[in-house]
Amino acid sequence: MPGMVLKAFFPTCCASADSGLLVGRWVPEQSSAVVLAVVHFPFIPIQVKELLAQVHQASRVGLAVLGTWCHRRQETEESLGHFLEGLGAIFSHEPWLQLCRERGSKLWSCKATRRQVPPHPGAPYEDQVMLVFYDQRKVLLSQLHPPAAVPDRQAGDATASAGGLAAVFDTVARSEALFRSDRFDEGPVRLSHWQSEGVEASILAELAKRASGPICVLLACLLSLISAASACRVFKLWPLSFIWSKLSVCEQLRHRLEQLTLVFSTQKAENPTQLMRKANVLVSVLLDVALGLALLSWLHGKDRIGQLAEALVPVADHVAEELQHLLQWLMGAPAGLKMNRALDQVLGRFFLYHLHLWISYIHLMSPFIERILWHVGLSACLGLTVALSILSDIIALLTFHIYCFYVYGARLYCLKICGLSSLWRLFRGKKWNVLRQRVDSCSYDLDQLFIGTLLFTILVFLLPTTALYYLVFTLLRLLVVAVQGLIHLLVDLINSLPLYSLGLRLCRPYRLAAGVKFRVLEHEAGRPLRLLMQINPLPYCRVVHTYRLPSCGCHPTHSWGSLCRKLFFGELIYPWRQRGDKQD
């Protein structure tokens, strides 16, 4: 656009290169020229045009010769100046850029001339030029967030659909074919760009790439065998499938198996996001296994397993004793409240007997506990998350009696509340209409009313006792659920934290770019404006938010309001509902 300032994006590595031709891409919508490389003398124009056509075919980026670059030693190289101006006739480009620099000084001069007659009268033949320096290597390797819409690769020269600067990043990233030759190559054209001192490569990276193919195939076969074995019919039979669905270890192992299948699949990652996800999963699994092995070595040293097993039975006994004391307290006059003696004794004795059975089972199991713990401790080598899930399951198993008490108390309370509500309606002469789902008035017989009122009175007076038992056992259950919840939170954290992305943001911040920032360089009146474009890295919270891995999904689905409602009406709460579980 005539009159608009022309922006020339110039790589910092070419600022000290010898004189030559500027090669790059011209974006007319933003009036910007992205310079990618400098072609040095001597060259044959036909060969330069051939090279540009080759690169265009390989990368679908429309490159052209944009102008000339003059790096003068002294003031007296006028002949070079005339020669360079003559080149404008061979490689015609609108507008023709002429950048010039004195060797050893910071004084630059730029000119952009147009040959054709300008479309509007009064528009200048020469455009104002603004130089923007950029680090080619960093711009090539970085990735903008949010990623701009990728233009169709088959559609030829990409239009700068996604904003001016995304077009610059896109151009540099797709012109990799231009940067493959360095100054040690014997090609016909000599280029200067970020890799002209030698193509960047690493032996370890190349070896890893070669080795990754067969390793991936091997591990993919192994993982598919394991998945096939776990999906076999035996495990779908009723007792086993019920147990598998309740244990959180199985859920965690399944999640890990899925993740490993994703990482070692033989398909290449289609876009950078998928590649990051694979890398994050791999690093997370490795860290998990490392922490698990550390835990394992700690557990198996100094006979800690034996100490743990010896401490387990007394702890279970102690918990049972405390529960007994609690029940004795409830059977007396808890907190000064007067209970209904008969119901109190019945409920108290029922729970005490249950507790007695539980203690007997624990004592029966006690000789085997050390063996079991030793074998279960070995599973920590699969990862710290597996060990934590096992801990959560052990807690659930050891507090199974509390769960049972909670269920009995809740069911009893729920029945009572249901009975009370329907009898309360009878007391007022109303009835619940199931068909219309509303309360209707109803005329009852005298004997119906009599019995109904009697039952209502009985239930009302027995309510405090049941409510107290329900309250106590619900609180205990919520305590156990809170402890399990904390463990699950920790497991989720380890599962979903994107460690590779965080490490990349720490060590190579230019790889994850939120945008760019500009700095105005030394400026003199009469000289063109020079800016330095640097990469603005993504903040850490955005990195975690963008690259967070999906976790097991065992989050409580209730809001506080619905939780309170369920507690009040005695409905059972299942806070850690796994995905795909059937309703009880």
């Binding site: 656009m1 608009m4 300032v5 922006k7 919508e29 009036s31 105005v520 603005n536």
Partner: protein, 176 residues
């Protein structure tokens, strides 16, 4: 071309506005906030330490004193790194965009760059300076000089210069 003027913010503190005209298409405005005053720092430290000493005489636990020292140090570092902004800069480059930088007292710099294609206009709205930006058709208002909170006279200066550049840019760009 540089020039410096002093204004005051809405609380009455002194602000220094530095204007740099690099060229007709590039201008920079740098607003320096009042520095951290030794008086307020001493006052806060003395309060915290007196409170800690009071607790120590009650509880006879020397951990309280160490904890108070830690809290003061960490609090000061956190304040300098995350809260105290020394300078806010607005850089307008014709046909590139608008860049806003906040420099914190610890040296950290936080930069946001908005491309010119996304900037609809620069306006003064009830003495808070706002740039409406439209990504994906949704209007978003971005406040400028949030921490320095300059008064209207300072804002008018900056507003006039920005409008000059935007007018020039609109005249030469194709209509969206």
């Amino acid at each position: 071309m540089e020039d410096e003027q002093s204004f005051s913010d809405i609380c009455g503190g002194r602000l220094a506005l530095q204007r740099r005209y690099y060229s007709s298409s590039c201008r920079e405005f740098c607003l320096s906030c009042p520095r951290l005053s030794l008086r307020s720092l001493t006052a806060v430290t003395c309060t915290v330490w007196l409170a800690a000493y009071g607790l120590f005489t009650l509880c006879e636990n020397s951990m309280i004193l160490s904890a108070a020292i830690f809290i003061t140090l960490l609090g000061l570092l956190g304040y300098l790194h995350f809260v105290k902004i020394d300078q806010e800069t607005l850089l307008i480059i014709d046909s590139l965009g608008i860049q806003m930088t906040s420099s914190y007292a610890s040296g950290k710099e936080c930069t946001t760059f908005i491309e010119m294609g996304k900037v609809k206009d620069v306006v003064i709205n009830e003495a808070v300076y706002m740039d409406p930006v439209e990504p994906d058709g949704i209007s978003q208002v971005v406040p400028v000089f949030q921490s320095a909170k300059p008064r209207l006279d300072c804002l008018i200066e900056v507003y006039r210069s920005c409008q000059e550049i935007l007018a020039h840019q609109k005249a030469t760009s194709p209509s969206p």
